[in-house]
């Protein structure tokens, strides 16, 4: 069964109620009851959130341990789950050295090891690149077929799932508006839902928003940045010391002005690290970012902000103010620039939220606000880290519209993405694989 509806329609809440974890996780007064028996397994949107152990094997074993399963049976189930999902990693592989797609398949293994009668999936592929999403989806479908478990999927992008479900339930505003089969859904409800932001199959990506040039035209001549032989080691501190991994292994890539450049590649290829290097946020171990007299990573925060805007992957990591309006104005004030807060907000469909607390917005609203917060002061270089992941059509059109308008006005735009529709919009494409440029 596919459970769908616009943002805020109550899909995730229904799923958590089915999983029996509603009372503790959501504020509010529950009423009514969930009837049924059997084991339900829940898979959440953010891959990292489900990890409970340091190694693959122990993580998958967590459910059976809780169920009091004897040790030999635990490991039989762990190996069966790992085999069903085809994770391709040994049981002693550390969970911290895994990509988002691998973590999501690990979480699926953890759910399968429970021997569930129902698989409840809360946007399990929305944070993943196309190849990883496909692998997760195939693993889910194969597992559901093999175990005969009931499958309930909540997704924004419906296309790939429709072939695998018998029933589509549409929610809106906390109410059930349709309970039909895939054919009936496509015929009667798809067009309406697309207008409400849901990605339904057969429709092209929406047109990016038109953003007035005055809001995005760079205030100063954009830097012409170029990575030359950039090598980056990322250090991770753990309780038992520091580990270093090489994220970039000698990258040459330019960020041309008056154009958008898509930085793409599978999860863990080093795309985000390259964007952070180009944004002057990470110092290369060797090589350099050409285009400035002094290395960008040595610039003071204030002068860096005048030239470079960077939108973090998780919007809430970028929020620094108490209201939406302050958030939009903050960096501009720091740079001594004027910004038309109300106009920026209304272009990004945030006009009615100017006084709201950034942390209380919905996921899509947070994403649009993070874009405005990082870019409203009109820097010449824009770097956006996975701006469309998990977003509905409206937010997708807003962030792509902003980046395209800025590039049209002369800015150098870089977008880290694995979204094929975003790559299709870009003027240049840089493809990374394991820390090197492959195309």
């Amino acid at each position: 069964m596919l459970l769908t509806g616009p943002s805020g329609s109550g899909k995730s809440t229904v799923l958590r109620a089915l999983a029996g974890v509603l009372t503790d996780s959501v504020p509010g007064e529950p009423a009514g009851e969930v009837v049924g028996d059997g084991v339900a397994g829940l898979l959440l949107q953010n891959p990292g959130d489900s990890v409970v152990a340091a190694t693959v094997g122990r993580d998958v074993a967590f459910g059976p341990e809780n169920a009091g399963v004897p040790r030999p049976e635990i490991w039989r189930r762990v190996h069966a789950a790992l085999g069903a999902v085809d994770l391709g990693l040994p049981t002693d592989h550390p969970t911290r050295a895994m990509s988002g797609g691998q973590l999501q398949r690990l979480a699926l293994c953890g759910v399968l090891a429970l021997g569930p009668d129902a698989l409840l999936l809360d946007e399990p592929t929305s944070m993943l690149d196309a190849a990883s999403a496909d692998a997760v989806r195939r693993a889910v479908v194969a597992a559901a077929d093999a175990t005969g478990a009931t499958l309930v999927v909540v997704e924004h992008r419906l296309g790939p799932w429709l072939d695998h479900v018998d029933r589509v339930v549409v929610l809106d505003g906390g109410r059930l508006v349709a309970d039909t089969d895939p054919a009936g859904f496509v015929e009667h409800h798809a067009a309406d839902l697309a207008d409400r932001g849901v990605w339904v199959p057969g429709l092209p990506a929406p047109a990016p928003f038109e953003v007035p040039e005055a809001l995005v035209a760079p205030d100063e001549a954009p830097l012409r940045l170029r990575a030359e032989g950039v090598v980056v080691d990322l250090r991770a501190r753990t309780l038992r010391g520091t580990t270093t991994t090489r994220a970039l292994r000698g990258i040459d890539a330019a960020l041309p002005v008056a154009a958008t450049t898509a930085l793409t590649g599978v999860s863990g290829a080093g795309k985000s690290t390259l964007a952070a290097v180009l944004a002057g946020l990470v110092a290369p171990r060797s090589g350099r970012v050409a285009g400035t007299d002094r290395p960008l990573h040595r610039w003071s925060s204030a002068s860096l902000a005048r030239h470079v805007g960077w939108v973090p992957q998780a919007p809430e990591h970028g929020f620094l103010a108490r209201t939406v309006a302050e958030e939009i104005a903050l960096t501009a004030r720091r740079c001594g620039r004027r910004v038309e807060v109300e106009e920026v907000a209304s272009v990004l469909r945030l006009g009615h939220l100017l006084g709201a607390d950034p942390f209380r917005l919905s996921g899509g609203e947070q994403r649009r606000l993070a874009t405005a917060a990082a870019l409203a002061h009109r820097p010449g270089v824009l770097l956006l880290d996975e701006p469309t992941v998990g977003q509905d059509r409206g937010t997708w059109a807003a962030v792509t519209g902003w980046a395209r308008a800025a590039a049209a006005a002369g800015a150098a735009g870089g977008v880290v993405t694995h979204d094929a529709d975003v790559v299709a919009l870009a003027d240049h494409v840089v493809t990374l694989e394991r820390g090197v440029v492959v195309a």
Partner: protein, 232 residues
């Protein structure tokens, strides 16, 4: 040989570290303190895989002890012998534990606490899951730091600005950690953690001869100052 000690049972390592605490109470004079610390240092030099890593941790303890020496000298009748003995006592109290903590694997410790010491499974499991998130916090910290820098709100070079910046990051980290912890709790409960009655463990918690040897070695080292004190 160099992996003999770090690979030992975390319970044995923790016990060896903790035994130094009662041992430190026996340090009443400089000679006892020096001999006891010397014994620990000798064993450490022979068995620890990385001198640099251990010295880094010892240095922190030494800095703390120096302040103890100074304040004891100042307030304790300006007797240099008493003051140095007090400093040595604090060194002995903290240094072995600080060095050994680096080799304690939280997951193996959890297995031992649950199966060998039979502590309640739920708090032990919650504890190891929380330690698991600790490493994730480092990544969040980096993201928060980058966001502030790119928005023109990074710190200047002054230590005061850096202090304020760190405080602001810490708050952001706290907010993020709370959100992460509540989602992790949902994921754990959805995998039966909330309703677990008789939890089993995927890995055994073995106790080997090596672990006994580590424990005895820890006890022998802890006995050095006690014996000196009783004999002297």
């Amino acid at each position: 040989m160099r992996s003999w000690l770090p690979g030992a049972n975390p319970l044995a390592l923790v016990a060896a570290g903790l035994l130094a605490i009662p041992a430190s109470l026996a340090v009443r004079d400089v000679r006892t303190g020096l001999v006891a610390l010397g014994a620990y240092a000798l064993v450490g030099a022979l068995l620890l895989p990385s001198a640099r890593r251990a010295l880094g941790r010892v240095l922190v303890v030494v800095v703390g002890s120096v302040s103890i020496v100074y304040s004891t000298w100042l307030l304790g009748g300006r007797d240099i012998g008493t003051a140095v003995a007090a400093g040595l006592r604090v060194c002995l109290l903290a240094a072995p534990g600080a060095v050994l903590a680096a080799y304690v694997d939280p997951v193996r410790l959890g297995d031992q606490l649950g199966q060998r010491l039979h502590l309640p499974a739920r708090p032990v499991t919650a504890f190891t899951a929380a330690l698991q998130r600790f490493e994730h916090l480092g990544a969040v910290w980096a993201q928060l730091d980058r966001a502030r820098r790119s928005r023109g709100l990074g710190p200047s070079r002054s230590p005061v600005a850096r202090g304020r910046h760190a405080a602001s990051l810490a708050f952001g980290l706290l907010v993020s950690a709370m959100r992460g912890a509540s989602t992790q709790a949902i994921a754990m409960d959805a995998r039966g953690f909330a309703t677990a009655q008789h939890r089993t463990w995927a890995e055994p918690a073995p106790w080997t001869r090596r672990d006994t040897a580590v424990l005895l070695l820890g006890a022998a080292l802890a006995a050095v100052p006690v014996v000196l004190h009783l004999a002297g």
